[in-house]
């Protein structure tokens, strides 16, 4: 495969698309599948087959973003035609929908595409998501895929690739925000002959599904990013460490590796150069702590996922003591675009210290939940009120939780804050991997803190005492407070424990476990105080609503 071969495949695809009357895309990501997208796809395919005029291409695609309105169907999302999108499509609707292809669109199911949910997004990582068929390599190539890799290995030196990544200012999207270029340089400079690339797809934060969506919708993009990383740092072997809870993503990834290897875009002698790059998949087995890089490496080596002290950092001493580059799915998915359009282009998006875009999984008590990609520096209010469409059922916004169990809850007064690594941190939360859960007035912040502490307590690997014992003690105290059995002394003890666990735990899990408590104490202390008062003096609680829509 060289650049001309890629261009030829792309041209054929464009020609094929031009000859079609209509292209009907059906979202087949996990959320839409759970609402019955499979039957919708089948129904539409049947109609296309029986259509005497022919020329209608029905194609399964990845996540279109607006998961709460699934199954989603998009008709003619091409430059020359006007896209018509449908939501909540049921198998019974397919006949009417198909009939509307050449006539008036089916207004009953129409989903406007000019609403802020779609209009306010800027897509780099999700560029192909919902457009291409994730199981079709040619579709990815037609969208410009693998041209960055082929150009890099045939026309650029590893140092050139490294320079672009450094220039882009890209920071790790897994949550830490460590500059990717710096991490890559450290591994590239290591003198050892054998190095590894690991893609961290152990998306363990509850309420986060960005990586799952990227892997299900555009798996080749991640593989291309990994191969580019391998070329830049001098590694020939790589692993994707992925959660076993994401069977669809695993299946698509396996298929993608096979397809790319067959075409000579992965494996031995890529593009007839001396560059070899092999990717293996390793399944996680349900341990949140394995998102921590040293624990993740232990797990790949077949051990219990327990972290070890750093230094040495994985960049110096990682998998089987070899220098290892570990990047998150979204970080790697940015790489092909950075190489295609240059580091300067990427740097021009977002803010000075947080460049590019960020994918968020928007969920909770919000009108439009789903997957969004926005430029860094966007205001939180824009995400919640415009893109997310605000809080349903006339209720009031209370807090937005970012960063999962390591993050915090931000109240209304922080909604005008710009979304950047450093601003979020100074407000007591973190960027995290991208989970964003909106809560309304029915959520008790003490309960939320207890929920996350219960999570950290169960997920603590047990290696270091502050985390193993501290999370249990903090959970017990939160239990006491939530049930109204606590005194001021308990609250004081809780705060003290937060400090100790934060300062003395071995890895990120323990160090950040107190964050949900600290941030709710910072902004919602009155809710804790309320629980300390004798029962007769407390305000009546708001009714808790379960599972309503």
């Amino acid at each position: 495969m060289n650049l001309e071969d890629l261009a030829e495949i792309a041209e054929q695809s464009v020609e094929a698309e031009k000859s079609q009357r209509h292209c009907v895309r059906v979202c087949m990501a996990a959320s839409c599948q759970s609402s019955g997208a499979g039957a919708v796809l089948e129904g539409l395919r049947q109609h296309a087959k029986q259509d005497a005029d022919g020329g209608v291409h029905v194609k399964p695609v990845g996540c279109m973003g607006l998961c709460s309105a699934g199954p989603l169907v998009s008709v003619d999302a091409t430059e020359s035609k006007t896209e018509v999108m449908y939501k909540d499509v049921k198998p019974d609707d397919t006949e009417e929908l198909y009939a509307g292809l050449d006539g008036a669109p089916l207004e009953r199911l129409r989903c406007p595409t000019d609403i802020p949910f779609f209009a306010c997004q800027q897509r780099i990582v999700l560029k192909n998501s919902g457009i291409i068929d994730p199981e079709n390599l040619d579709d990815y190539i037609a969208a410009g895929g693998y041209s960055s890799l082929v150009r890099a290995v045939t026309e650029m030196t590893p140092a050139d690739v490294l320079r672009e990544v450094k220039q882009s200012g890209l920071r790790g999207r897994g949550g830490g925000g460590y500059p990717a270029g710096l991490k890559w340089s450290t591994v590239a400079m290591a003198p050892e002959p054998h190095k590894f690339v690991i893609c961290n797809a152990d998306e363990g934060d509850p309420g986060a599904f960005m990586d799952r969506a990227v892997l299900e919708s555009d798996p080749h993009r991640v593989l291309e990013g990994m191969a580019l990383a391998g070329y830049a740092i001098g590694a020939e072997h790589a692993y994707v460490y992925i959660r076993a809870e994401y069977p669809l993503a695993v299946e698509r990834l396996k298929k993608a590796i096979k397809q790319a290897t067959k075409k000579g875009l992965l494996g031995r002698r890529i593009s007839d150069t001396t560059f070899n790059f092999e990717i293996e998949i390793r399944l996680g087995a349900g341990a949140f702590v394995c998102g921590e890089e040293t624990a993740l490496m232990a797990s790949i080596q077949g051990l219990r996922g327990q972290p070890r002290p750093r230094p040495p950092y994985p960049a110096e001493e990682g998998l089987w003591e070899c220098p290892t580059l570990i990047n998150n799915v979204e970080t790697l998915a940015n790489i092909p675009s950075i190489l295609a359009r240059g580091g300067d282009w990427f740097k021009g998006i977002g803010t000075e210290t947080s460049t590019g875009t960020k994918v968020f999984a928007l969920a909770g008590r919000i009108a439009h939940s789903g997957l969004i990609e926005v430029p860094m520096g966007i205001r939180l209010r824009e995400i919640v009120e415009q893109i997310g469409g605000g809080i349903p059922d006339g209720r009031r916004f209370k807090a937005v939780q970012t960063g999962g169990p390591s993050g915090g809850c931000l109240p209304e007064e922080h909604l005008d804050m710009s979304v950047e690594y450093d601003t979020l941190r100074s407000a007591g939360s973190i960027m995290g991997s991208g989970g964003m859960i909106v809560m309304d007035e029915t959520s008790s912040m003490v309960d939320v803190a207890r929920y996350f502490m219960e999570f950290c307590m169960t997920e603590s690997c047990g290696k270091c005492v502050p985390c193993r014992a501290g999370t249990v003690q903090m959970h017990e105290l939160l239990d006491k407070i939530a049930e109204g059995r606590a005194t001021q002394a308990d609250l004081d003890l809780l705060e003290e424990l937060c400090d100790v666990v934060q300062a003395t735990s071995l890895c990120g899990l323990g160090q950040t476990a107190p964050n949900p408590v600290l941030s709710t104490l910072r902004y919602f202390r009155h809710e804790y105080d309320e629980k300390l008062r004798p029962e007769s003096e407390r305000l009546p609680p708001l009714p808790v609503v379960t599972g309503d829509h």
């Binding site: 934060d205 790949i300 089987w320 969920a363 789903g370 859960i437 959520s443 379960t546 599972g547």
Partner: protein, 170 residues
Amino acid sequence: MLMDRPRTERTAVVAPPDDDKRWKIIDVTMRRNGYAGHALIETLHAVQSCFGYLEDRSLRYVAMSLQLPLSKVYGVATFYHLFTLKPQGEHTCVICTGTACYIKGSRGLVSAIEARYGVNPGQTTEDNALSVLSARCIGSCGVAPTVVLDGDVLGEQTPDSLIAELQEIV
């Protein structure tokens, strides 16, 4: 084949516990990894997907084949939440307890099942018909709260809709 991994590259040293054909799949997994110790998690995944759970004799067989101490195999099998050492009921219902599902009422689903079937996550009904499990997050947060019923993801569940679904199969 990776050159630089410490590889043992052995052949099988012990025979499977019985002539059940499913052991072949386990053997293939181990052979593909050269019977190296780092294949432990992969192998346990294979055992669980073939037999439904990790029984004592499977753990012993894997330990002997990969030449690992039993303590290490047991340690890994119990460390990871996805591995189960108990047989599952005829049907399984996994309730997602991720943040989005929690905020949208997954607790109500847990109590509804407890009220109707008398089991909590991690337990199986006495007639072995239904195992209830909980998951940390299945990543379908857009349609929260969700459950996974015998492998199918069901979104936007209420206590009533879930019990209705369960009554159909159990």
